[in-house]
């Protein structure tokens, strides 16, 4: 997800009107304001308004105070490193407009509402109009006509058309999952202004956009280190770290822990690998995250059980202190892996149920 100021620069480059504004990193940088301004925390997350991340200031002094309060604060789980100070547009009416992807249909979808102040959780509800846009056709005149009517902007068809085509150009040229304008403002001067810009770019498409500077992901060092190795690590609030291969299997393991009274402390999807060094690194990261117990649940396919066993043994050999480790293995080279582990005193369970019970028992300190 892009920060709002990045999104707005993109919008402006595509001919969409956005409020005049400046991005600043310290309260001293707040520019002199002639009139009321908005001071907005630049974080890669929605729901900032509810989280107190958007403030209105009547002049320069108020704006400085707001910037000061926001900079360095935590908003919606993110540390605010910069804020956007921009003109407060005189609003005639607020609307909602977005282009995203409808998963069920597998098609881009325009969602729009002519009434402002909508609760974003209700997108898709009766106050919203929806049109799929076929990727092979793009925006056509009939979409523009229908959107103009839905937004009750009769007579402004040409402005609506320009806006919609620009949003579509952003959506397709940047491989977006979401381009959202909330609110879209009909300004007192009769123009359409994008008062916010939420642009979510599809992670898998970033190779096509090497020049795009994405905001540093928040989150601790372990998450970032895991990400750099292509391993998915999600910290949770329990004490049993789960390492498994495959998203579904990892979640199923967490669910099973929970069903048996355990609490997962971290999700780690090892993915597919035939490299013991990678397994070792994964285990080291999990160990460093301070779990009481680590439950390893591997179903061997491309990833062989013995590869995992070797990586695990390498990791354990190199660690001074390691969490209690419960291993469950199934699949390719399962027997060999079990023998390797047993030689070092580790019992690998064949049944997930048994491993889960063992991990819960260990977590509970039994």
């Amino acid at each position: 997800m892009l920060l709002e100021d990045q999104g707005k620069r993109l919008f402006r480059a595509h001919g969409i009107r956005v409020p005049e504004g400046r991005t600043i990193a310290t309260a001293e940088q707040v520019p002199e304001a002639a009139g009321p301004v908005m001071v907005k925390a630049l974080i890669p997350a929605g729901g900032r308004g509810k989280g107190g991340g958007v403030r209105r200031a009547s002049g320069t002094a108020e704006a400085r105070a707001a910037a000061s309060a926001l900079l360095g604060a935590r908003v919606s789980g993110h540390t605010v490193r910069s804020v956007l100070v921009e003109e407060a547009v005189t609003v005639s009416r607020e609307m909602y407009l977005s282009v995203s992807i409808d998963r069920s249909l597998g098609l881009p979808i325009i969602i729009a509402s002519g009434s402002g102040g909508v609760d974003i959780e209700l997108v898709g509800g009766p106050a919203f109009h929806r049109w799929t846009v076929h990727p092979f056709l793009g925006i056509r005149e009939f979409h523009v006509r229908e959107l103009t009517a839905a937004l009750k902007l009769e007579g402004r068809e040409s402005a609506v058309g320009d806006l919609l085509r620009s949003l579509w150009a952003v959506f397709t040229s940047l491989d977006c999952e979401l381009v959202e304008v909330n609110p879209l403002i009909l300004a007192a001067d009769g123009e359409l202004v994008a008062a916010d810009a939420k642009v979510v770019i599809n992670d898998d498409s970033l190779f096509r956009h090497p020049d795009l500077e994405l905001p540093e992901p928040d989150g601790d060092g372990i998450e970032a280190a895991a990400r750099s190795e292509g391993i998915v690590f999600v910290p949770l609030d329990g004490d049993i770290g789960v390492i498994a291969n495959g998203a579904g299997l990892t979640m199923a393991t967490m669910d099973a822990l929970s069903a048996h009274g355990g609490r997962t402390g971290a999700f780690m999807d090892l993915g597919g690998t035939d490299d013991p060094a990678r397994v070792r690194r994964a285990f080291e990261l999990m160990a460093a995250s301070g779990q009481k117990v680590v439950l390893i649940n591997i179903f061997g396919a491309m990833t062989k059980c013995d590869t995992v066993a070797q990586g695990l043994l390498d990791a354990l050999g190199g660690l001074d202190r390691s969490p209690a480790t419960v291993v469950r293995l199934r699949g390719a080279n399962e027997e060999r892996a079990r023998e390797m582990l047993l030689a070092k005193g580790i019992v690998a369970f064949p049944e997930l149920e048994d491993a889960v019970r063992e991990a819960v028992d260990r977590g509970a300190g039994k």
């Binding site: 069920s104 597998g106 881009p108 999600v234 291969n245 998203a247 579904g248």
Partner: protein, 288 residues
């Protein structure tokens, strides 16, 4: 269903590490792998399978009903489109991390060509005794009458493996993929299983994110006569985080495990609370 003994399968990206490995495994499974495609490597052989520079050549010389794509993300969509353009009827995209706009293009082009896409980011399809197109491990399967459909990879192997141990063989196992936009949906799969003479019972393995399971529940309620056993992963996954799969994301309160389980139970499916209880539920499931 989809793959039969006489289905002519080609492998795109056959000369890569994954391509070579799984070509061997597909042949071992009994699949009729007739050709491979890697541009610039035409004329080579991989495990006795002739390699061509293009799908068109491969299709002209060997016939090609189905293709398995192992090409990296940058070229995966192009390879899939090439196969569709050359008249291939089913394209299995194993590749992970295919850009979602590319996936939409490929799926819509398949629709235009009246062809089927399975995936992307999927383990493919296996019909024990007939053939396999994808990366599921051979040893877990036994021939039988249980149809399995899943968004997951290893979790599916886990379940299939436990079904086999319980003496419950499989008719076809179809991995539809973990991405938000996939070519074959749960509903498509259920419809095929309902019509498939070899399938008597169906196992559906879902996860958080999206509404594919809710739509599956609606189809089960309205159209399925065969019993369905379901399992949904992700009950304890935190909302707003992608859990490994790009599609496994609870967003704006939609796509929770709870809503999926409720919908499936209301539709008459048996829902397992643990992966290890699936086999027993399948054994017990009667014709509805």
């Amino acid at each position: 269903m989809i793959i039969e003994r006489d289905t002519r399968v080609i492998v795109q990206g056959i000369t890569g590490h994954q391509g070579r490995y799984h070509t061997r495994a597909m042949i071992d499974f009994g699949t009729r792998v007739v050709a491979g495609v890697t541009p610039g490597k035409g004329g080579e052989l991989v495990d006795g399978v002739p390699v061509y520079d293009s799908v068109r050549e491969a299709a002209d010389e060997q016939g090609a009903d189905m293709s398995v794509v192992f090409v990296p993300p940058r070229g995966a969509a192009d390879s899939a489109l090439e196969a569709l353009d050359a008249g291939v009827r089913t394209v299995v995209i194993v590749t992970e991390h295919v850009p979602v706009h590319d996936a939409m293009d490929v799926i819509q082009y398949a629709r235009l060509k009246r062809a089927r896409v399975i995936g992307p980011n999927c383990p493919g399809i296996a019909s024990p005794g007939r053939g396999k197109a994808g990366i599921m491990p051979n040893p877990i399967f036994t021939e039988g009458a249980v149809g399995v459909v899943s968004r997951s990879g290893t979790l599916t192997y886990e379940v299939v493996s436990s079904l086999s141990r319980a003496g419950l063989g499989q008719s076809t196992c179809l991995g539809i993929g973990g991405d938000p936009v996939v070519g074959t949906s749960f509903v498509d799969a259920l419809r095929m299983f309902e019509d498939d003479g070899r399938t008597e019972k169906v196992v559906l393995i879902g996860e958080i994110g999206g509404t594919a399971e809710e739509e599956a529940a609606e189809f089960i309620r309205q159209k399925m006569t065969k019993p369905v056993v379901a399992y949904i992963a992700g009950l304890t996954a935190p909302p707003g985080r992608k859990m490994g799969h790009a599609g496994a994301l609870v967003h704006r309160g939609r796509g929770t495990t709870r809503s999926k389980i409720e919908a499936l139970e209301a539709a008459g499916a048996s829902v397992a609370t643990d992966p290890w209880s699936i086999a027993a539920l399948v054994a017990r499931a009667g014709r509805r």
